[in-house]
Amino acid sequence: MSESSGDTPQLELRGITKEYPGCLANDHIDLKIMPGEIHALLGENGAGKSTLVKIIYGVLEADEGEIRWMGEPIEINNPQMARKTGIGMVFQHFSLFEAMTVTENIALGMSGRQNMKELESRIVEISNAYGLPLDPQRQVHTLSVGEKQRIEIVRCLLQNPKLLIMDEPTSVLTPQEAEKMFETLRRLSSEGVSILYISHKLDEIKALCHKATILRGGKYISECDPTQETAKSLAEMMIGTNLTPPEHHEGGDQGPVRLKVRNLSIDAEAEFGIDLIGINFEVRGGEILGIAGVAGNGQIELLAALSGESLSRETEAVRLDDKPIGRMGPNDRRNLGLAFVPEDRLGHGSVPEMKLTDNAFLSGFSRKQLLKGGFINAGATADYAQEIVDKFDVRTPGIDHTAGSLSGGNLQKFIVGREVLQEPEVIIVAHPTWGVDAGAAAAIHQTLIDLADNGTAVLVVSQDLDELFAISNRIAVISEGRLSTSRPIHEISIEEIGLMMGGTHGMGETDGDTGGAAHVA
């Protein structure tokens, strides 16, 4: 790894501490990264990873502690200073400007003046050299997520960084795109660039990283060599307890078709939205159908079409227990037994400023009969909310607290519980464990499996292939608004799914090839 610099670390953190009101986000954290080392930062949500890298990149200031760069103490007060020092960062939620071109976006992330023409040719040069093809003239909103990430990486590389920080870079990539990115990272490492790699995908870390630092609850737990650990041992260091994987059920005794979608085509309403093209699938009682896909391939539109937020042209396009519901609104569908857990917990799945009781009422009032003569039955609503909290282990001081005050995992348990207790015929769940810690994720997975075992048809839309393989009976892939035929999980591998997810935006491939073949699968 390190060729020249001996044993002076590229970056060293000593006792970094950052406190927010009521929360110690970083508690005396130490970290050492050698030149050319790929160093993983591991931890659950809320472990303090993001806070720590924001301190390194100068977005936040530490309350206490010292940052050393090549052995010398330095102060990084803002991102410009970090970039000047030689630190580049690829953000988890991209820091890109959708209405601008690739070149403009890159110019914005660089200090000083640029000649646009020169910059363009340097972009082409760098992106070709590292196998990250980019068209500098394209508007960002026309690009796939993988391409957007390339912009961020190229933007960093143009400034010849000594340290590259990557915050969960593969969460939006197909396995093939991720593998290409690893090649780029390994090459950078061999050129002496240090990489701080944040992820909670343990297999990735084992395959890529030389060292790993584990954080838990804002504290430094340990440093280890991930190649010497198993995924299970790493996970247990992360969460501090033993993990029990969800119990898989047998898919043998499946009931009748409960949700049936035939030839569903909808033109996207939002700009930059994806049109749905001839979607066909069905879900039987007792089974879990997983829909995989890279974000922005029509998931939002499909979920809206199923929940009733956007209506189909023909009412026959969507059938629930053989009743056509394609032109019914969300409330009518709920009455028939369709439950829905949207992707966005705050704002779509719940009203953050409202109490848990109110949030329970809003979705459950008709199925749970919480209305009395047109008025809210406060007692019954409170009982219902309390039942959710008790049965699904929602950690909250009380049901009178607002939805927004709950942590992501707890709120997700509340929302899933709220829908499950309505005894749905069909439940549609989007990204059930996105941003949820491992403990809550396991509980949510078990809930969905139990629900299916009781005869409900479960549809799960997710980007997380490990999750889909853990709970689904069958998997289909959505790509550019088209849905593949579904395949039982024992007949298909993660690699095949990954190829199908890639669609026409596969890294290193020109538009058009492989995508077409993949759709047929």
């Binding site: 806070t51 924001k54 991102p79 400007f97 959708e98 403009e104 110019a107 992330g109």
Partner: protein
């Protein structure tokens, strides 16, 4: 040729009617491009108009008067900035309040000056060129602010699309979170943009009280600030179209005046409504094509920026 003699005065008055809209519109365009919606244009114009008028009558120096109007407009805008950017008040409500405040403040400031005459702004005269029939007085016979308005539109266009600073301004309006995480001072940039908008509104107001009708009267902007706001949507946030739009609205305003003077058999109130009816119609037509609007509209407009972690 005698039959066309009326054309030159019509075009000349059209230019004077359009110029305040150009200034106010281009200023608000910069404000909105940075992601801030300032509905206080009308108020800032009025304060600019009265400040310019007072300075002109007291000092007799028109250059100073225009500067004072710009300064007064940007002070109003700074106030708006403090409320919405630093104290994070709702931009719509604050903008409306700024307009009401401007109406009252300008009336108070101008109490002593109502009805006072002042010489209109000097017009350019180049012997020979200005004497060319028809185009001479139109191209070479305007006052300085008219030429300045064209220069400002060209400068803003160049700034927005050819300079790094303009790129940063657009970026802040497109995604303030991304701009913040890259390390740009969202609030600082927005302050500058809002104050530029105020200064331009102030000059637009001063044009009314120093050139269009060289006098001060309460509420003399008569809704032009609102037309300037509508202009930006009409122009889909493009500087060149703001200019064209301003001349279109200016033209309609003048045509109805001339139609009244010609004794057209339509109630004068109906004719006075024309510019505003045109505003509404154009907005409806433009709004039909949402994608065109979204392409140039700043995505963060009106959203409050919390510089949280």
């Amino acid at each position: 040729m005698a039959g066309f003699d009326w054309i030159v005065p019509v075009i000349l008055t059209m230019i004077t009617a359009a110029t305040p809209l150009v200034f106010a519109g281009i200023g608000e365009l910069i404000t909105e491009k940075s992601g801030v919606l300032n509905l206080g244009v009308e108020g800032m114009m009025l304060v600019g108009a009265v400040t310019g008028f007072i300075t002109a009558t007291v000092t007799g120096n028109y250059f100073l008067a225009v500067l004072a109007a710009a300064f007064a407009g940007s002070v109003m805008a700074f106030l708006f900035g403090v409320l919405t950017l630093s104290l994070m008040a709702n931009q719509v409500a604050t903008g409306l309040a700024l307009t009401l405040f401007g109406v009252g403040l300008s009336a108070l400031m101008g109490q002593e000056f109502v009805g006072m005459p002042v010489d209109p702004l000097d017009k350019l005269y180049i012997s020979g060129l200005t004497d060319i029939p028809y185009i001479g007085p139109i191209i070479f016979g305007q006052d300085g602010l008219v030429y300045l308005s064209f220069a400002v539109v060209a400068a803003v266009s160049w700034f927005l699309y050819k300079t790094k600073a303009g790129l940063i301004l657009r970026a802040v309006g497109d995604s303030h979170d991304a701009a913040h995480s890259i390390g740009y001072s969202v609030i600082g940039i927005r302050y500058l943009a809002v104050m530029f908008g105020g200064a331009m509104s102030g000059i637009g107001g001063a044009y009314l009280s120093l050139a269009y009708t060289p006098m001060w009267a309460e509420n003399m902007t008569a809704g032009r600030g609102w037309i300037a706001l509508a202009l930006i949507v009409f122009a889909t946030w493009k500087p060149g179209l703001v200019l064209i739009g301003a001349y279109m609205f200016g033209g309609i305003t003048i045509l109805q005046l001339h139609a009244q003077a010609a004794g057209l058999d339509v109630p004068s109130q109906v004719l006075s409504m024309l510019p505003y009816v045109a505003t509404v119609l154009v907005l409806v037509l433009i709004s039909k094509d949402q994608s065109r609007i979204r392409k140039h509209a700043p995505a963060c407009i009106g959203k409050i920026f919390h510089p949280a972690a």
